[in-house]
């Protein structure tokens, strides 16, 4: 069994990154022009990496399956981005951001990577402001901050409820500058079908032009995957419809280890499922928990009256409400981390207190924030603080200014006005902390193949804190990968262009073509979605917010059976040489059906609860997650051997030299 080398630099934690940068190999500007890099995915990680590598002088080819790089799913991130700027003077620092992130991840992330992330976080804000990203500002013209779950400082920068959009459009703009200069060649509506490995190194990809169906060969000296997470293995998630695991899975099949696949984030505040034919779920930003209070009725008879439509939530008296997060976690209240908030919602709903027809919803209530802000605004303007109509009006204006687009989104979907009645919310799959295993250089176990952003595993452990995904995506792309990849490419300056007329490219293309032809010629009876929905149901029921041995074993068997049925009974209309969305979806779901099994296998192997991974067998007497540090302080890195069931487990032991492992408490 090969050992994993995380290549963490020696020296004190705070000096590692600086020392590393001082000692790596560099590629001189003239030689950079001789080197090609492929970047797959154009979200915050891929987009920022492509732009920065092109600025440095490399020839970049960037790929996205959407019709423009601006549409990558980072665009949908709402609440904000963390940075240890300490503009608020509330005690923030690089170390505190590092500490909060490791603790928030329930001590299952790699110290050195997280510290580096915290270290470069402040640069991200400087960089984005210089690019013209319009962050929220206070009346003095300086940047405003808000607070997110699991921390006790305000370090989150934001642009209303559209922070991801503004940051991605920033990355898109710097990409555009390089596309205009010819340093990035952009391939829109292209899907990566495979990674090509030559002499043990990643040297290119096979891509499919989604408009014409043509199969293309693209070579490079290194390949970077910024292809996001795999939450859509659950079918219903907050991910975009096209978000998929295929690029990462293809890399896995070519030798990249897949780490911690079972570490999934189930986000506490999403709009509840409304119908059988629903295609996706919508998030309501965690930032809403700054001002919204979560509750369910204390009495079951009130719950029944609400479900029957005989009682409105606004009619329930204060003393008859159970603000269960404030009750259970007085120190953090409504701002506990996501995994904790999700499990608490499930606990109340399982006990029968869910407030909608399906019994799977809790309230997120802004009434007290409206009153508080309204009174404050009235006071500032010298108006009557006791005039309730005025206070409500002023308070709503402030709430609208902070979260206007989220309230509008809620109203359009649910057809209820959240300014007047509390929102109904329930947890939903949102993010995947697991992903391709990478070392400190962000390189996978395949030399020359890198994974950045949500596609890798390294920074969020078993639970990601809010506003950290945007931070990680941009840190990897703007500030980390551009250094680490140079160290690798320094040995490639004499290689010359990589030819595509080699047996490795021939073989990879043949495999891709055969699979596509199989799909369109397989005269089954059911569409891709039919299988995808069924897979999602298995995953949600057995690998969701609570997992146990029996459920996971049965999930493994069911997914395997479903996969066999898929390959026999799938029906894909049309041909492979045209625009064919069903064909693209078929390939993605085929990969989800393999990943799903590995996911369940990983969850079964990890017989402890940590972060978002809650094993019912491993909990405290109060129902909190019980970690087993003696046996599971490691990263599970799975090696592909032909079938998900036969994947080999490699363990990277996690060493904590700067943080003491403690039971995570938010009480």
């Amino acid at each position: 069994m090969a050992t994993l080398d995380s290549k963490i630099p020696a020296g004190p934690l705070a000096d590692k990154w600086t020392n590393y940068k001082n000692n790596i190999n560099l590629v001189n500007p003239a030689n950079k022009r001789l080197i090609d890099v492929i970047v797959v995915g154009t979200g915050l990680a891929g987009g920022s990496a492509a732009a920065t590598l092109a600025e440095l002088g490399y020839n970049v080819k960037a790929f996205c399956f959407q019709d423009s790089p601006r549409r990558a799913h980072s665009i949908a991130a709402q609440g904000g981005i963390n940075a240890a700027k300490n503009y608020q003077g509330d005690g923030d620092s690089t170390f505190r951001l590092f500490y909060d992130t490791v603790k928030g991840g329930d001590y299952r992330s790699r110290e050195a990577n997280v510290y580096r992330l915290a270290e470069v976080s402040a640069n991200i804000i400087d960089q984005c402001v210089a690019q013209g990203v319009p962050f929220a500002r206070d009346y003095g013209g300086l940047l405003d901050n808000r607070s997110f779950g699991g921390v006790l400082v305000s370090r989150t920068f934001y642009a209303k409820g559209q922070t991801g959009q503004q940051l991605l459009l920033g990355a898109y703009s710097v990409m555009n500058r390089q596309i205009g200069r010819g340093k990035i060649k952009m391939y829109n509506r292209h899907e990566m079908m495979d990674v090509v490995v030559v002499d043990g190194k990643a040297r290119g990809i096979i891509a499919r032009n989604l408009v014409t169906g043509e199969i293309e060969r693209h070579s490079a000296h290194a390949v970077v995957l910024g292809t996001g997470g795999y939450g859509n293995v659950f079918f219903l998630s907050t991910n975009a419809m096209g978000s998929n695991v295929s690029a990462a899975w293809k890399a896995h099949k070519r030798g990249a280890y897949f780490a911690n696949p079972c570490f999934t984030q189930i986000h506490p505040t999403c709009i509840p499922v409304s119908g059988e034919l629903q295609a996706k779920l919508t998030l309501m930003s965690e930032s809403l928990r700054n001002d919204g209070r979560i509750w369910v009725p204390k009495k079951l008879e009130d719950v029944e009256a609400i479900r029957a439509g005989k009682l409105k939530p606004t009619q329930i008296k204060e003393e008859d409400r159970d603000y269960y997060l404030e009750r259970r976690y007085p120190a953090f209240g409504n701002l506990v981390p996501r995994d904790v908030a999700s499990r608490a919602a499930k606990e109340r709903c399982d006990a029968g207190y869910g407030v909608n027809a399906t019994g799977e919803a809790v309230y997120l209530d802004f009434a007290s924030a409206v009153t508080r802000y309204g009174k404050e605004a009235a006071h500032v303007r010298g108006l009557n603080e006791n005039d309730n109509t005025l206070v409500q009006k002023l308070g709503r204006e402030i709430i609208a200014n902070k979260y206007g687009n989220l309230f509008q989104m809620y109203e359009k979907i649910v057809d209820e006005n959240p300014y007047e009645t509390p929102m109904m919310i329930y947890p939903a799959v949102h993010y995947t902390m697991g992903g391709l295993w990478v070392d400190y250089n962000l390189m996978t176990t395949v030399p020359g193949l890198y994974a950045i952003g949500e596609a890798n595993f390294s920074d969020h452990g078993a639970n990601r804190l809010g506003a950290s995904a945007l931070m990680q995506g941009l840190a990897d792309g703007y500030f980390v990968l551009p250094y680490t990849i140079g160290d690798y490419l320094a040995s490639d300056i004499r290689t010359g262009a990589i030819p595509t007329n080699t047996p490795e490219f021939d073989a990879a293309e043949k495999e891709v073509t055969e699979r596509l032809n199989f799909f369109v010629n397989n005269n089954g009876t059911h569409s891709v979605d039919y299988f995808h929905r069924r897979l999602g149901k298995i995953m949600w029921d057995k690998c969701g917010m609570a997992r146990n041995t029996d459920g996971l074993k049965s999930a493994i068997a069911e997914i395997k059976a479903l996969r066999e049925e898929f390959w026999k009974d799938l029906k894909v209309p049309g041909s492979a040489d045209e625009y064919n969305e069903e064909l693209a979806k078929a390939g993605r779901v085929a990969d989800f059906l393999e990943l799903g099994e590995l996911f369940a296998k990983d969850a079964l192997e990890r017989n402890e609860s940590c972060g978002g991974h809650f094993r019912e067998e491993s909990q405290t007497s109060e129902g909190e997650a019980a970690r087993d540090d003696a046996n599971y302080t490691y990263v599970s890195a799975w090696e592909y051997t032909g079938l998900p069931s036969e994947a080999n487990l490699h363990k990277e032991e996690l060493v904590y030299e700067n943080i003491e492992l403690k039971t995570r408490s938010y009480k």
């Binding site: 019709d67 549409r71 402001v129 596309i179 409304s274 509008q408 057809d415």
Partner: protein, 251 residues
Amino acid sequence: MNLKLKIWRQKNANDKGKMVDYPISDVSPDMSFLEMLDVLNNQLIEKGESPVAFDHDCREGICGMCSLYINGEAHGPDRGVTTCQLHMRKFKDGDTIYIEPFRAKAFPIIKDLVVDRGAFDRIQHAGGFVSVNTSGNTQDANSIPIPKADADLAFDAATCIGCGACVATCKNSSAMLYVSAKVSQFALLPQGQVEAKDRVLNMVKQMDAEGFGNCTNTGACEVECPKGISLDNIARMNREFSKAILDGREK
């Protein structure tokens, strides 16, 4: 509810295309418009027919991928939403719904309801950026205070999702609302000042080269814009353009 759909079908860019009728039954009012099309497509696939191609991705109104001209309106009858946020409760049992692609010379049809909006990207390549490298050595983010009112206006302009509803709605197929949103965002911020004049000239030049029409101040784009991008941005772009011309920057 039961509906009669009339959908534009066009095999590829060279095909002539035509409207085709599709009846659909048991549509729930709580479904989104695209979920209704998903149901139709699953029925078509299982019957062995070709599903209707349409663009979509995030399904929460932010990626700008979805389009559709529904009963003569970009993104359909509701206001302030994209097609993916439109819900069937906006329609009545027995309605006939016409579904067409976003039509404009600069947006060639790829298949059925899918169009090529690459022209939008090319306008951005011409100048939709601030020329600052990712050195990590830019000055501190708070070193230049920006009046909140300006930052808010820049943000409002920057919320454009690049869907193309403005172009599809405009009788001249003008892209002025789209281009002016980006020009305004940077014109309102100190970071955008250095290149402001070249930016507006280059972006407008590319806009014209792509075959978009001119603005005649009808204001339909503002009404149909799912993000409420204001016509004020077009006025601001015209001022920026005039300033650049008067400065003798035009080449």
